[in-house]
Symmetry: C2
């Protein structure tokens, strides 16, 4: 056998199990049918790198967040679209503050967890699919490193066009990114070099997620500097108006509708 | 690219990082060069199943062990070979108690961690390689589920013969196993069925370990019942004299030299 996973809702299955562990309700993963097994998100990169990380942080309350998450949430105003709503941690705080928030995700399982936790307005789909729904937003949130969803040079323009199509006048994007180039680890610097040789941005990761017997298809996820982002935003409807890098290498980029 | 790992000392690299986290000394894995990244062991099965688990337990002190580990250690007497010594947790307690213990492992990195933690007698190699060294033992320990090292029908006989070649008169094997058949999870019951159809024992797992850019070759690891073990021990130099299943589905099997 090849060891290849079956394609499925990796993120949703993982989040369902993490939520069962978090609440103590429902079947929880066990080792040998007896000892609890922590829920681990596994991310493979196409050069063979693999990393696991506990999934519990998707359900963390604000007291466990990083400082940039708090600053990002404080910037949300008006009708807000939380893109990649995940376990709903950001949307729940916005709701509590009375900010009208919609959670968007491509994972049915993630939306089920959000619903159960009390997120009221949820949409299944990509930004392109949701753009066809005719709704308008004042704030678009790309948190949890989800600036990565712009994928790379080609996809960035279409992604930002979909947001522009849903944008109310004066709308903003608040995106969490990471500068990938601070490392000296040859596993990473070698990958950045390889990427450039194949005509990609250095931090344009080709990834898939795995959880138990399931995997996603391989997809691009962009880790880029604020300077690279500025280049990608040029010639779109958006302008990069602010970069908050107080927690470097992590940063919050603010885009505003041009003109 | 294929996403295939490079073959290397997966366990040793993982343990080195887990030990750095444990002690707070030396370079520790980080996310984005800044936030600590927990060390996760990743195990792939050849049907595409993948699981991650925190590696910290390899360094746990006795206060964090499962009860069967304590009962196993209490049975060690005389010159003891800890097979798959790993991070040395078992060997360290035996040393403290004055039991003469030798740690055997195929991972150079694991032996380095053991050495640093104070395990005095360490051997690099397989049981077959060590059998050629002419040393004799009264107790062989296969803890941390390492009964699995007997792999399956074919390898079990050769593995037990290697132990017999190193056995002092009256020697014993204390092995920790798990009954794999209590589960109703189709991911596992289907795999057991598939295994039987290809002429293997139900719980004869085909696995590889991965850590960062490294992977092992695919190898067999046997999870079997005490009854299946009894069948594998028949026609060897050993007799299955005791099964302690107080923590079922986990059990401790004791083998003694026949005759």
């Amino acid at each position: 056998m090849t060891g290849e996973p079956r394609i499925g809702d990796v993120f949703g299955e993982m989040l369902r199990d993490a939520y069962a562990v978090h609440t103590g309700i429902g079947p929880r993963p066990l080792v040998g049918g007896r000892l609890p097994r922590p829920v681990i998100e596994i991310i493979e990169r196409d050069d063979g790198l693999i990393n696991g990380a506990p999934a519990a942080h998707y359900l963390d309350g604000p007291q466990d967040w990083q400082p940039y998450d708090h600053r990002a949430v404080d910037r949300a105003r008006g009708a807000t679209l939380d893109i990649g709503v995940g376990g709903g941690r950001i949307a729940l705080l916005l709701q509590e503050r009375g900010v009208p928030v919609t959670g968007l995700d491509t994972s049915v399982g993630a939306l089920r967890v959000c619903r159960h936790r009390g997120v009221r307005d949820l949409v299944l789909g990509t930004v392109d699919e949701h753009a066809a729904d005719g709704r308008r937003y004042d704030t678009f949130l790309l948190l949890g490193n989800n600036l990565g969803l712009i994928e790379g040079r080609h996809r960035a323009a279409a992604f930002l066009a979909a947001l522009a199509a849903m944008a109310a006048p004066g709308a903003q994007v608040i995106a969490h990114g990471t500068d990938p180039y601070g490392t000296k680890d040859p596993v990473h610097t070698g990958y950045h070099e390889l990427n450039r040789r194949r005509g990609r941005l250095g931090g344009q990761l080709r990834l898939r997620l795995r959880y138990r017997e399931l995997g996603t298809e391989w997809f691009d996820y962009l880790v880029c500097t604020a300077e690279e982002l500025a280049g990608l935003v040029r010639d779109t409807a958006w302008r990069l108006t602010d970069v908050d890098d107080r927690d470097a290498p992590y940063y919050l980029a603010t885009l505003r509708l041009a003109g």
